[in-house]
């Protein structure tokens, strides 16, 4: 009887943690593997923006980004059993996202829309007064970055990886991640400077 009560209590605690979003990614994966649909939902809500953001920056097209995001989550759901927890979930998910985008592009399902810094409309000071316009301008500038810099920046800022995790995801030294992120930001800072853009 005591054992049953303890189990019920543990279940209640787990449920409250899930609702409060207090469970770690690893806990969520464990719960999802048991068929807990709230864990699946929590994983989707925690990571869909990052996946979609990467895909949108890769393809430059929201329809393609949506297709890629859906494909990523289908792969993720079906591969949860193979996630061994040695790396952070975000690292694993980032790799899936990157591979899915590359696969879709190679298969010709969607083609990334090419962008060139020359095509970037220089922002004005007024642009930065409007958050929506500012974010759109920033995204347009990010899409002009070299892919390896854009990916490194996305790994750190969208997927929340630290430099070590990103280095693991790209299989490159930590110093290379740092320099790619730095170079990306320096380029963006120049592109987004209103003074440079002619105010």
């Amino acid at each position: 009887m005591l054992l049953v009560n303890l189990r019920l209590f543990a279940n209640v605690i787990e449920e409250q943690a899930l609702i409060a979003g207090a469970l770690s990614d690893h806990d969520l994966v464990a719960a999802a593997r048991k068929g807990d649909e709230r864990a699946f939902e929590a994983l989707v809500r925690a990571h869909s923006n990052a996946v979609y953001g990467h895909a949108l920056r890769f393809f430059g097209d929201s329809a393609a980004a949506e297709d890629a995001t859906q494909e990523v989550f289908v792969k993720m759901f079906r591969s949860l059993a193979s996630f061994d927890g040695r790396s952070a979930l975000s690292t694993w998910l980032f790799r899936i996202t990157r591979n899915v985008c590359l696969d879709m592009a190679r298969a010709g399902a969607h083609r990334p829309i090419p962008t060139d810094p020359i095509d970037l409309v220089p922002p004005t000071v007024r642009d930065f007064a409007d958050d929506v316009v500012m974010s759109r301008t920033v995204e347009a500038a990010i899409r002009t970055l070299p892919p390896e810099e854009r990916d490194a920046l996305g790994a750190v800022t969208l997927f929340g990886m630290n430099y070590q995790e990103a280095a693991l995801a790209f299989d490159i030294p930590v110093g290379t991640v740092k320099s790619r992120v730095f170079r990306a930001r320096r380029t963006l800072a120049h592109l987004l400077d209103p003074a440079e853009g002619g105010a």
């Binding site: 999802a32 593997r33 048991k34 068929g35 649909e37 699946f40 939902e41 989707v44 809500r45 869909s48 923006n49 990052a50 979609y52 953001g53 920056r57 980004a65 949506e66 995001t69 859906q70 989550f73 289908v74 792969k75 759901f77 079906r78 591969s79 059993a81 193979s82 996630f83 690292t91 998910l93 790799r95 899936i96 591979n99 590359l102 696969d103 190679r106 930065f128 958050d131 500012m134 974010s135 920033v138 995204e139 750190v156 800022t157 969208l158 630290n162 430099y163 299989d171 740092k178 992120v181 730095f182 930001r185 320096r186 963006l188 800072a189 120049h190 592109l191 987004l192 400077d193 003074a195």
Partner: protein
């Protein structure tokens, strides 16, 4: 502080906590440096910008997909529990399988021993059998080898290891498959008879194989050789060892070995994909694998979702005739050597 250092600190401060004194110094540097001040303004814009958000209807679709997946998982778990809860239906099957195999293995042992005697007596031997496939020359037999019936009682020993009907259920026996054996999931191809010093042998286990005798498989004592990776020897008679080596391929200047998710009970059985991977339902490897790279000979290499090639890779059926996976109708998995 120079400009580069100041800029790096300002950039890193967006990603993680940096030393407060260094950050203050970098900001102070910007006060007197227009170039770095400009970067500081740009970084400020980046920090304030919001990242793209997935459209709400997409998120709802993903949540619905997750719910469906959860239902499938629960259904599978319930089915498994039901099976466990019905011992009358399950356990007898297992026992029957074992009972069925025990006498058969004893019979296989006798048959294999008799076969060995016959082969040895006719001067063919297993080495000779191998030579038909791999050009191996046989060597003369000693008189000890003729006493096979008593010497090969081990042929029946690993009943428990090879007693399950499951052990071979998904092995694909097809004409044309190479003469492989499998040990610990790694596939080996015959090298012919080897002269080995017993002192260099490291006990491994047994390999269940019928070679190409057409009989049922028997457990053959198998050894690794000290300081020699990629080679095993099967003792087919006292002091008679058949060598087998891993089947390998190169990728990115590293060697990878062929594995099999199912037993290979006889020559002519194709290796299968490891059980931890679902067999891809599409030629492009999905949903299990994603295309990774083409190797030097143009073979497409695939890796699992979220995986790296350092952990191994998959190759689709249909490789060229000179490829080590040639002819295999299954996906194959290659692990680092």
């Amino acid at each position: 502080m120079d400009c580069l250092k100041a800029q790096e600190i300002l950039s890193e401060a967006l990603d993680h906590d940096v030393d407060a004194a260094s950050l203050a110094e970098a900001r102070s540097h910007c006060d007197g440096c227009p170039e770095c001040a400009r970067l500081e303004r740009g970084l400020d814009v980046l920090a304030r910008a919001t990242a793209p958000s997935a459209p709400e209807d997409l998120v709802e679709r993903l949540v619905a997909l997750g719910a469906k997946e959860a239902v499938l998982i629960r259904a599978a778990a319930a089915e498994a529990e039901e099976s466990v809860g019905e011992p009358a239906a399950v356990i007898p099957v297992v026992l029957m399988a074992r009972k069925r195999w025990t006498p058969r293995l004893t019979a296989f042992a006798s048959a294999a021993a008799v076969l060995l005697v016959a082969l040895v007596a006719t001067g063919i031997g297993l080495g000779g059998m191998l030579s038909a496939n791999r050009g191996v020359t046989d060597s003369p037999r000693t008189s000890e080898e003729y006493d096979a019936t008593s010497a090969y009682s081990y042929l029946a020993a690993p009943d428990a290891e090879y007693g399950s009907a499951d052990a071979t259920k998904d092995a694909v026996a097809q004409p044309g498959a190479p003469p492989y054996v499998v040990l610990d999931g790694v596939v080996y191809a015959p090298m012919g008879q080897l002269a080995v010093s017993p002192s260099t042998l490291v006990t491994a286990t047994s390999v269940a194989t019928a070679f190409d005798t057409g009989t049922e498989p028997a457990a053959i004592p198998t050894f690794r050789i000290a300081d020699e990776t990629g080679t095993i020897v099967l003792r087919t008679a006292p002091d008679t060892y058949l060598g087998f080596s891993t089947v390998t391929r190169q990728l990115l200047q590293r060697r990878f070995v062929l594995t099999s998710g199912s037993d290979i009970p006889a020559y002519g059985t194709w290796p299968t994909l490891l059980r931890r991977f679902a067999v891809p339902t599409s030629p492009d490897g999905s949903p299990t694998f994603s295309f990774f790279v083409k190797d030097d000979s143009g073979v497409l290499v695939y890796i699992p979702a979220g995986g790296t090639v350092e952990d191994g890779f998959a190759v689709a059926p249909g490789t060229a005739p000179d490829d080590p996976a040639s002819g295999n109708p299954n996906w194959t998995w290659w692990e680092p050597e």
